[in-house]
């Protein structure tokens, strides 16, 4: 029996026995759920459980293979996203869906521009966009070209865009995956506001504490099937994890001894990435896990990109005592340094190519025999990666873009690990990854460190940095402003450094 917070409210949206197949693979089977006015209904589940697929059906992006959708008790047929929007159902996609050449305001108002006579009222739209963004706690210039924004900023723009549509039901598909705690907090506040207005909210996230905080009810999916719907008040994050994964996820972070005592493998001095990072100096030791914390736009990503040579940069870098200067990624890879981009769609994977091609792209050299690529070994490598990284895919001939978001992330990690690197720089390693897999990835990172490799983790999730790192460097405005180690490794210290503001004020 589905629990209802209060029985006097009729659901605005109801899904009845929805099923969806892609070709022969059924990714959703008989999933039913209801959304009440003024509730936040969270959907959780492992990567590839079918959450996004379900949401896309409800927002008219996919047609269900079977099952019905009802609004206000009325059976409806959604012909497309635009139709859904007209009925007040709006979706914040897991992927960034913005036109890169238009400005923020132009994107936000795309398709429903404010007219002014024959022309457009750009001033009003800029103001409206600025207002929407401010409510989300984002101070993004409405006139900025979207193509120049960071992923996090784009995500905020996308949210602002959706919230501006008149809506009765808002679906958020992992809106916070690329946001820092600050923006997350602002977003949650906005969600509470719209809930108070009687709007129904569907909310997907892998951050279970967040789910606990915001949700009224929680629906759990596993392998495309409904596990159950529960009142959030009756579930602790650990319970959620168990329901999702089907086992206990007791300890998220692995135990490990600090590798701090060993020799330095990478020494960075006065490293500049023009426009993004100034005067960065730090050291990385063998077998160490070094964290990089900071706010959105602190320049961590660009610093790392500069280090591995995919971005113009200058400064001294010594690798195993030797001065190096990488001019492109192939040089840094040869030296055993790999970088996993935070932008898995734009810079990580070829979305229109199959899994094996993506997996071996960086390490294809190893699969060449007598000039020829050995397809069989490629296929074996894919099998291995699927096993090792638990990539959930119905078929092996899928295109990378058809994997669920989290599984794409796993494929990207697997791709870079094919290079057998000695230094791994991972940017936002668990963005969009379910809790069970997170545990695996942390274990994996720890194992890499144990094997004597050195790891840099750039992350906006402070608990994860604190959980797995030996040391954490904090960046602000393109500069490394401090280091936290040992008992100082707590969120409070990091926030103070990252914002330059005392905790009391920052809250």
């Amino acid at each position: 029996m589905t629990p209802q917070p209060s029985s006097d409210r009729l659901p605005i949206l109801e899904a009845r026995s929805l099923s969806k197949s892609f070709g022969p693979v059924e990714v959703l089977r008989d999933v039913s759920l209801t959304v009440l006015p003024g509730e936040v209904h969270a959907i959780i589940g492992e990567n590839g459980a079918g959450k996004s697929t379900l949401m896309k059906i409800l927002a008219g992006n996919h047609q269900p293979t079977r099952g019905d959708i009802l609004i206000d008790g009325q059976l409806i047929h959604l012909t497309g996203p635009v139709d859904a929007e007209k009925r007040g159902i709006v979706l914040v996609h897991q992927e960034i869906l913005l036109a890169p050449d238009l400005t923020v305001a132009q994107n936000i108002y795309l398709g429903r521009e404010l007219p002014k006579g024959l022309t457009l009222d750009d001033r009003a739209m800029n103001e409206g966009a600025a207002k929407g963004l401010r409510e989300l706690g984002a101070d993004i210039d409405p006139k900025a070209i979207v193509g120049t924004l960071s992923i996090a900023q784009r995500q905020l723009v996308q949210i602002a865009r959706v919230l501006l549509v008149p809506h009765r039901i808002v679906i958020f598909d992992e809106p916070t995956a690329s946001l820092t705690p600050f923006e997350t907090e602002a977003l949650l506040k906005v969600i509470k506001d719209i809930r108070a207005k009687g709007v129904g909210v569907l909310y997907i996230s892998h951050r279970l504490p967040e789910v606990k905080e915001i949700a009224d009810r929680v629906t759990v999916l596993r392998d495309g099937r409904l596990v159950g719907t529960h009142l959030a008040s009756e579930l602790e994050p650990a319970d959620m994890a168990r329901l999702m994964v089907g086992r206990d996820v007791a300890k998220l972070y692995p135990d490990r001894q600090s590798g701090a005592a060993r020799e330095t493998v990478l020494e960075v001095e006065n490293f500049d990435v023009p426009g993004y990072a100034k005067n960065a100096s730090f050291q990385l030791r063998k077998g160490e896990i070094l964290g990089f914390a900071g706010l959105v736009g602190a320049g961590r990503t660009e610093l790392m990109e500069g280090l591995v040579g995919v971005r113009r940069a200058s400064g001294t870098v010594r690798h195993n005592g030797q001065a190096v200067h990488f001019r492109d990624a192939s040089q840094s890879m040869k030296a055993g340094i790999v970088y996993l981009s935070e932008d898995r769609k734009g810079k990580g994977l070829l979305l229109l190519k199959d899994l094996a091609t993506n997996l071996t792209l960086a390490s294809i050299r190893r699969f060449v025999r007598a000039l020829q690529i050995d397809r069989k070994r490629e296929a074996e490598a894919l099998d291995g990666a699927i096993r090792e990284f638990d990539i959930r895919t119905g078929r092996k001939d899928l295109l990378a873009g058809q994997l669920s978001g989290g599984n794409q992330q796993k494929l990207l990690i697997a791709k870079m690990m094919m290079l057998d690197p000695s230094i791994v720089i991972i940017d936002e390693p668990t963005r969009g990854i379910d809790i069970g897999t997170k545990q695996q990835i942390y274990k994996f990172i720890a194992r890499l460190a144990e094997e004597g490799r050195s790891i840099i983790v750039v992350s906006s999730e402070m608990p994860e940095l604190i959980g797995i790192c030996d040391r954490i460097l904090v960046m602000r405005s393109g500069q490394i402003v401090g280091e936290v180690t040992g008992e100082h490794m707590n969120e409070n210290e990091i926030v103070v450094l990252a914002t330059g503001v005392k905790t009391g004020e920052a809250a």
């Binding site: 996203p81 635009v82 929007e85 869906l97 913005l98 036109a99 890169p100 050449d101 238009l102 400005t103 132009q106 994107n107 795309l110 398709g111 429903r112 521009e113 007219p115 024959l118 022309t119 457009l120 401010r134 706690g137 984002a138 101070d139 993004i140 210039d141 006139k143 900025a144 070209i145 120049t148 924004l149 960071s150 900023q153 820092t180 600050f182 923006e183 907090e185 602002a186 706010l295 959105v296 736009g297 602190a298 320049g299 602000r476 405005s477 393109g478 914002t499 330059g500 503001v501 004020e505 920052a506 809250a507």
Partner: protein, 333 residues
């Protein structure tokens, strides 16, 4: 808290792109200097007004091409379309369907505009509804329009026969208003309208969105097919306007009319800073590009250094150099 969270965020705004937009004008200025050095007559009002006047056809067609290209399309059929529309227009004028010459002329001009729009619509429908890669679709229609022209003219020329009509129509190309040749006025008027629609109206916004990311546009409720098709119609209208100026100039067309104009128009667009991948449209840059192309040819002819055999080579080299100049300018920004 909110301010602290994003205090560092100062991404590029639309304003920072301006240096890239200015680059074609710098290249144009450099060319003007080069021309002045090559020949004293170059910088004379008469010569410059000649050059701009005769760039009218390419410039106006390129304005339409800017629309098509920024929507993510391409139109290779424009040169053939010029020949086709002009031939039909002249044949209509020759038919003498209306007794009063002025009325006949006006009807002929309206007909040209209608045919231009229809040709554009045809192109648009084939690429959007037929879902054929624009390159191939318009290569096909290029064959069709040119073939039909050849057939209409039986391979020869189609010449405006009525002398009276001709002298009535002549001023549209050769006339001046307040000392400014009519074609120059038409260029800038068309460009102003094109810029207004592209930058200030809803349609223009949608056009750029479609060229920038088709999926996003579709999700935003924009009818991608309609927007693209209209872009082709705009291209057809621009071709028609070019024809309205072309016919009074020589009063005749042949199967070779407008040959390779599509390449020139696209070149003008790209030299003007519009990317072929779509999503960016620079109307004034396109005009600048069209002027650059015409001026390069003019300088070649006026200077005495270059063997007639090498002109093509030097023109090619100059275009590449102009692009390199642009590139280095925008990189420094």
């Amino acid at each position: 808290m909110t301010t602290a969270a994003t205090e560092t965020a100062k991404p590029k705004t639309s304003r920072d792109w301006d240096l890239r937009a200015v680059a074609p004008f710098v290249a144009l200025a450099l060319l003007l200097v080069l021309g002045a050095l090559a020949n004293d007559n170059f910088i004379s009002v008469a010569n410059l007004s000649n050059v701009i006047t005769r760039s009218a056809f390419i410039a106006i067609i390129a304005l339409g091409a800017t629309y098509v290209i920024s929507s993510g399309g391409l139109d290779l059929s424009v040169g053939a379309m010029v020949a086709f529309v002009a031939s039909l227009m002249i044949m209509f004028l020759n038919s003498g369907a209306i007794a009063d010459p002025l009325l006949l002329l006006i009807a002929g001009m309206a007909l040209a505009v209608a045919i231009g729009a229809a040709c554009g619509l045809f192109n648009g429908l084939i690429t959007t509804v037929g879902q054929i890669e624009p390159f191939i679709a318009t290569l096909g229609t290029m064959g069709i329009y040119r073939g039909l022209t050849t057939w209409l003219s039986q391979g020869g020329a189609i010449t405006l026969r009525d002398r009276e009509l001709q002298s009535l129509y002549r001023p549209v190309y050769f006339g001046e208003v307040l000392g400014v040749p009519v074609p120059i006025i038409v260029i800038f008027l068309t460009a102003a309208i094109a810029a207004f629609v592209l930058y200030r109206t809803r349609y223009g916004r949608h056009l750029i969105a479609v060229g920038s990311n088709e999926d996003v546009a579709r999700y935003s409720g924009i009818s991608v097919k309609r927007v693209r098709t209209i872009a082709y119609v705009v291209q057809g209208l621009c071709v028609a306007i070019a024809v309205l100026l072309y016919v009074p100039r020589l009063g005749s067309t042949s199967a070779t009319t407008g040959i390779l104009w599509e390449l020139q128009a696209i070149t003008a667009v790209v030299v003007g800073g519009t990317a072929l991948r779509g999503g960016v449209g620079r109307i004034w840059g396109t005009l600048c590009g069209a002027f650059i192309l015409e001026i390069v040819g003019n300088i070649m002819l006026l200077s005495n250094f270059v063997s007639e055999y090498l002109i093509g080579a030097i023109q090619g080299a100059i275009i590449i150099i102009a692009m390199l100049v642009q590139r280095s300018l925008s990189r420094r920004s």
